[in-house]
């Protein structure tokens, strides 16, 4: 056990920090073109797709190096690249399950953000029960015809392509009738509508598909393997943001302590209130424990081991912590915490959040409610932990009894 960073990792971190100092955009990113330009710069520096195999334009980097780049970007408050689902989910899926032709056709353009991707998984009636999805893909001989509706498609509005899960067989058990496809979003029959969230913004979309064409050559894996493929893609978030996430929390925490120093209660600075101090002490210990856990995960990844269902513990832990943290922030900040406009500088959250760039506590607070729902709700994670780590018996479910699909 040695929790010091190696000299190589320290040198690498320094190199990334220097690069960021010299290359951070001088101007605010206003539109997709600005962001694409920043994305290309990161790509040319070798800081994107770092874990992808070299033969497909990736960096073949160690998990720690990826975590360090993300962490330094968080420290520098650097804008995020675009195409996060392309880089994080679609690319790795094609690397593992795609044909050579698919790899040649798609991977490079994902890296360079020439083509932007979204993920077409959830449906209005298939959320936690994703395998209940109803969107159909019907074999037409030389292509598939897709009909149905997807929801919670992040980046749907700007996406050129989507990674699609659709039902190709209604006669078998529901998990076995699903297949995986690459679908061109720029064609007639694809209707993308922004979904306005409680934040007032629209990071997500609804996607309606009416007689949409998917080429045979864009099928990933075999027919009926879609569910299994989706299970592996959910595991691709391999600790790349493990350190960056904590750095973000730590920076938010410093802002919160700063604000508590300026506010007063009963004539005394809030930071001297023992109740506030207890709550701050608790959250800081939870953030630090999350950091220790990140080091544990990275140790595993560096040894080439996959955390497997352990990823469910990680996701459950940080998403629930983020919710508690943001609730505390709004409690301490009072109405300042709810401002979306007009907040004095010292009560702003000037840090780019992981997914969006609204620098208000209010936005971060509302956004924290999403984390325990998306990518497997906390309840689903607890089921996975119970069944796959603790070995507890599966529950009796209505869709598993009586041979119903």
């Amino acid at each position: 056990m040695d929790l010091n960073y190696t000299p190589e990792d320290i040198a690498f971190r320094k190199q990334v920090r220097t690069w960021l100092e010299q290359n951070l955009p001088k101007k605010e990113i206003r539109n997709l073109e600005d962001r694409r330009a920043w994305h290309r710069k990161l790509c040319e520096a070798g800081y994107l797709g770092m874990g992808w195999p070299k033969e497909y334009g990736g960096g073949g980097a160690r998990p720690m190096e990826q975590a360090i780049v993300a962490d330094e970007m968080a420290r520098a408050n650097a804008p995020a690249p675009t195409n996060s689902l392309g880089l994080g989910i679609v690319g790795p899926t094609i690397v593992v399950h795609g044909t050579d032709a698919q790899k040649k056709r798609y991977l490079k353009k994902i890296l360079t953000a020439e083509e932007l991707w979204c993920q077409l998984y959830s449906e209005p009636n298939a959320g936690s029960d994703l395998a209940a999805l109803k969107t159909s893909a019907v074999d037409q001989g030389d292509h598939f015809l897709v009909n149905g509706q997807k929801i919670w498609t992040s980046g749907g509005k700007i996406a050129d392509w989507g990674l699609l899960l659709a039902r190709t067989d209604t006669k078998v058990a529901k998990h076995k009738g699903i297949s995986c496809f690459l679908m061109n979003m720029r064609q007639p029959g694809v209707d993308v509508r922004p979904l306005k969230q409680i934040t007032g913004s629209s990071e997500f979309c609804e996607v309606f598909m009416t007689n949409v064409r998917v080429e045979k050559s864009d099928q990933i894996g075999k027919l009926g393997e879609g569910w299994a493929i989706a299970q592996t893609t959910l595991g691709y978030e391999r600790g790349g943001r493990a350190l960056a996430r904590i750095t973000n929390y730590a920076s938010h925490f410093s802002r919160l302590v700063g604000a508590a120093r300026r506010m007063r209660r009963h004539g005394k600075p809030l930071i001297e209130d023992p109740v506030v101090r207890q709550k701050l002490g608790r959250i800081w210990s939870e953030i630090e424990v999350e950091r220790y856990q990140a080091l544990r995960t990275l140790t595993l990844l560096e040894r080439g081991e996959h955390p497997g269902a352990g990823g469910s513990l990680t996701k459950l832990s940080y998403s629930e912590l983020e919710k508690r943290f943001m609730e505390l922030a709004l409690e301490i900040l009072g109405p300042y915490g709810q401002l979306t406009e007009g907040a004095p500088e010292e009560f702003q959250l000037e840090v780019e959040t992981a997914v969006a760039e609204q620098a208000s506590w209010a936005y971060a607070y509302l956004w924290s409610r999403a984390g325990t729902i998306y990518a497997g709700s906390s309840e689903i994670q607890k089921n996975v932990i119970g069944e796959r780590i603790l070995g507890l018996p599966k529950e009796t479910r209505a869709d598993r009894v009586g041979g119903k699909a």
Partner: protein, 375 residues
């Protein structure tokens, strides 16, 4: 960066685990409930032979020269079986205290004897107001000839009734000092304080003008403040390791029980109400593991964040253990509330350690001081 145990560490853990599974079964723990000493001298001798009693001490004093990560591994296993006996007190409170602040002669005398299984030690860190801040010490040490006269009232002194030496903080003219006191010395009265964990023995220790020699002073007079803070940090982390072991045992028992106990015609573990609770317990146990071993490493390596990591560890693990052990009773239902079932042995061990060496609130205040001074 490597947050995993070395082969040697795993070997150590496995051998401690095997020895305790064999020699510290629940029946042994229960047999100690009514034992006047409260621990088995035979097992103590065995631990000396296995090298556990000298684990963190230098080799020249008969120790193994290992660090706190190794000691935490041993203590986690002890928490797992609710080991009855003064191991923690002797090795951590007494042993590390003497190792941190003792003169060469004191180290030679005591560490050697402890490692050989010939002496037991402890420390009297609490007075009636239960303030863990060493500056709150009210006991006094007056110069008397070449030696000292100690007076004061100490409470919750663990395993003092079988100790050969007790580290006693007292206020001398030079400031806060630490003394090595024989609990059988004239002027010392011990009165048992019996808690819910019948195998965590405490005493009230009254010192009424106890005369000790010049060599009873640990290190230099007036220097005990920083020493006690270092010792408290180590005690906080090492007791957390023991709580972690107890919590893990409670989780394991709950999971096993949930697989076999049937209600409504199904194993209760198939119900989400139970399964989700078990998943939450595992999350707490795994986070507690990270907190314990990070802090143990940081203290051993002298890392810059060692002090804050120790407070984070004790604050986090105290509450995690409280939740996990409490939830374990809930998962078990009625059987978990019976004396015959073993669950309460581990739950009570964790409960006994929860308020010691600073409870969660004490440490959260230290954390708050740290974060508000650095931000």
């Amino acid at each position: 960066m490597n947050f995993s145990f070395s082969d040697d560490q795993i070997l150590l853990r496995n051998s401690v685990h095997a020895a305790l599974e064999e020699q510290c079964k629940p029946a042994h723990v229960r047999a100690m409930f009514d034992d006047p000493n409260g621990y088995s001298a035979e097992l103590w001798g065995e631990m000396a032979k296995l090298g556990w009693l000298g684990l963190p001490f230098p080799e020249e004093q008969g120790g193994a020269g290992l660090g706190l990560v190794e000691l935490a591994l041993v203590l986690e296993e002890m928490g797992r079986v609710a080991y009855p006996g003064p191991f923690f007190e002797t090795v951590v409170l007494g042993g590390l205290g003497i190792m941190l602040g003792g003169t060469p002669a004191q180290k030679d005398k005591w560490l050697t004897a402890i490692a050989a299984g010939k002496a037991r030690a402890t420390a009297a860190l609490l007075e009636e107001h239960l303030d863990w801040d060493p500056t709150s010490t009210a006991a006094t040490a007056a110069r008397s000839g070449a030696g000292w006269t100690l007076s004061g009232l100490k409470r919750f002194v663990p395993w003092a009734h079988v100790a050969d030496v007790v580290l006693v903080p007292a206020r001398s003219p030079e400031g806060l000092s630490l003394f090595l006191v024989d609990p059988k010395a004239s002027g010392v009265t011990l009165k048992p304080m019996v808690g819910i964990d019948l195998v965590s023995r405490w005493s009230e220790m009254r010192l009424d003008k106890v005369a000790v020699g010049a060599d009873a002073l640990l290190g230099q007079a007036g220097t005990a403040g920083p020493l006690l803070e270092s010792l408290l940090r180590r005690a906080a982390v090492m007791s957390s390791a023991e709580m972690l072991g107890a919590a893990r045992r409670c989780l394991d028992m709950s999971v096993e029980y949930a697989k076999v106990r049937e209600q409504f015609g199904q194993p209760i573990g198939s119900f989400q109400a139970i399964r989700h609770r078990c998943a939450e317990m595992l999350l707490e146990v795994e986070n507690a593991h990270a907190a314990v071993y990070y802090a143990a490493w940081a203290l051993t390596a002298g890392a810059e964040d060692a002090a804050i990591a120790s407070s984070i560890c004790k604050a986090y693990v105290s509450e995690a253990a409280r939740k996990v052990c409490g939830d374990a009773i809930q998962v078990h239902g009625g059987i978990g509330f019976t004396w015959e079932y073993d669950l309460h042995l581990y739950m009570k061990r964790a409960k006994a350690l929860e308020p010691l060496y600073g409870d969660a609130e004490y440490h959260r205040e230290l954390i708050a001081r740290h974060v508000s001074s650095t931000r």
